[in-house]
Symmetry: C3
Subunit: 206 residues, 3 copies
Amino acid sequence: MRISRKPTGAKFFELFTEIGANIGASVEVLREFMRAPAERRPELAARMHELEHAGDEATHAIIEHLDRSFVTPFDREDIYRLAARLDDVVDHMDAAVDLATLYRVGELPRGVDAQVDLLCRAARLTAEAMPHLAEPQGLTAYWVEVNELENEADQVYRRLLSELFNGRFDALEVMKLKDVVEELEAAADAFEHVADAVHSIAVKES
Amino acid sequence: MRISRKPTGAKFFELFTEIGANIGASVEVLREFMRAPAERRPELAARMHELEHAGDEATHAIIEHLDRSFVTPFDREDIYRLAARLDDVVDHMDAAVDLATLYRVGELPRGVDAQVDLLCRAARLTAEAMPHLAEPQGLTAYWVEVNELENEADQVYRRLLSELFNGRFDALEVMKLKDVVEELEAAADAFEHVADAVHSIAVKES
Amino acid sequence: MRISRKPTGAKFFELFTEIGANIGASVEVLREFMRAPAERRPELAARMHELEHAGDEATHAIIEHLDRSFVTPFDREDIYRLAARLDDVVDHMDAAVDLATLYRVGELPRGVDAQVDLLCRAARLTAEAMPHLAEPQGLTAYWVEVNELENEADQVYRRLLSELFNGRFDALEVMKLKDVVEELEAAADAFEHVADAVHSIAVKES
């Protein structure tokens, strides 16, 4: 479909699809990390870091391809922005995992499971949307759903914050756990910013 | 005035005016909340949440109208960006109120009054500017004043932070209050981002 | 070089060069501040604040010149965005210095030196790039290096966070120091956003 419509964009769509799949893999490592015993954390954090690096490589490939292309399927700045926003998603998941490891936090509060579930759903929607970028007008449902997930994530995040302050954790542990859940919340926001970048491409194309 | 110049934009200007009025109503609830005894907080937080929801509806109406319009008064992405930045303002005020309620914080430090006063002034300027969007070059004074208010808000915010650390509050209470005043500071920043979006429209129109 | 190619832009390039030099001066004050005994902090914070104010003036001069110019060397919104991102850099350095003074923090942890070193390197690259804005395609190395510095800054920042939690500081002191190092990290991010704004101009020009 996309090749017939936008032959010049095939390489971009391929790279975005690859980045979508990479986000899907990252969120699985995140889920495993959050359930793993402390001794497995460094290994899973290293695995996440590899995925973050692979995402960086694909992002740079997009930017280099952009610099070399005379014709692009969308405005150059929109391609650039979408690549940057996708990069943010894995950056925040990597930061969450990295901080939890560096801080040697104890068991994570229960609410983190709900937060990670929402990230998994947003990741799946995003990975499924990327191969259809050539027809962005068809991605309205994706954009609406990711925005709804982000609203849900906000609620989960605030309940989780109040769980942190329920007296079970001392002040230093609250600070550490708060840094971790804030990065997860930033990842949820980042998925919304990706969807907004896609929506803004669709608006221009319509 | 705007109808004669930009008949196609009437619906957009109407919706932006509605959102401006909604921000004005939200900031009044915020002010009441900050002075209210703890037992009234859940009721006022619910009222704020309704306003936040009404703002969401108007934002979606703008985006849907954008998707259906062949001709728009400004670039599509600028309308979209302005709508998104206006949405942020109420989101941050809602978050402040929600966190103060969830955390069951004690009495708020005095400096919060000054912070809320500045938000009220920025809200009034913003609500007054929205009906004049059709002639954005006339909004220079609005843009300059909101930027000045944001500079003032920065100063108030930093003094407030040092008030939090003056020894009156324990570490957990400082963390909770800090989350609340950070959301208020983010609301002040959001008003500046709204003004910047208006300014960037004016720059393109000139 | 730039005058022959873009006579209309000479004033813009001059102002951006001035802002680059101002950032260079600001980072030197930052370095001195971080090494200074507590009694010298207010004086150095005042000096930083003057530089922040000088940067504001140059930013406003750019915006006013933009409002008065019929022809601009790049898209208006790109000039505006670059000016805004440069402004952020000094804002965050000023905030770091201001908070450290207001909070009367004790001696800063060792890791702050590494953070400030990276800011000095990013400032030098940025100051050197500004006089070459007329030929933005030649600034690829600048953009790549600033992005690499930001990655390094992320690592330094996270190690610094875990240093804060090593038991040497009580919870309130950790919160204060965290606010300071977060502003320094935001300054490192801001240098990357400046480089991204330059890169996005280069992409359009190519």
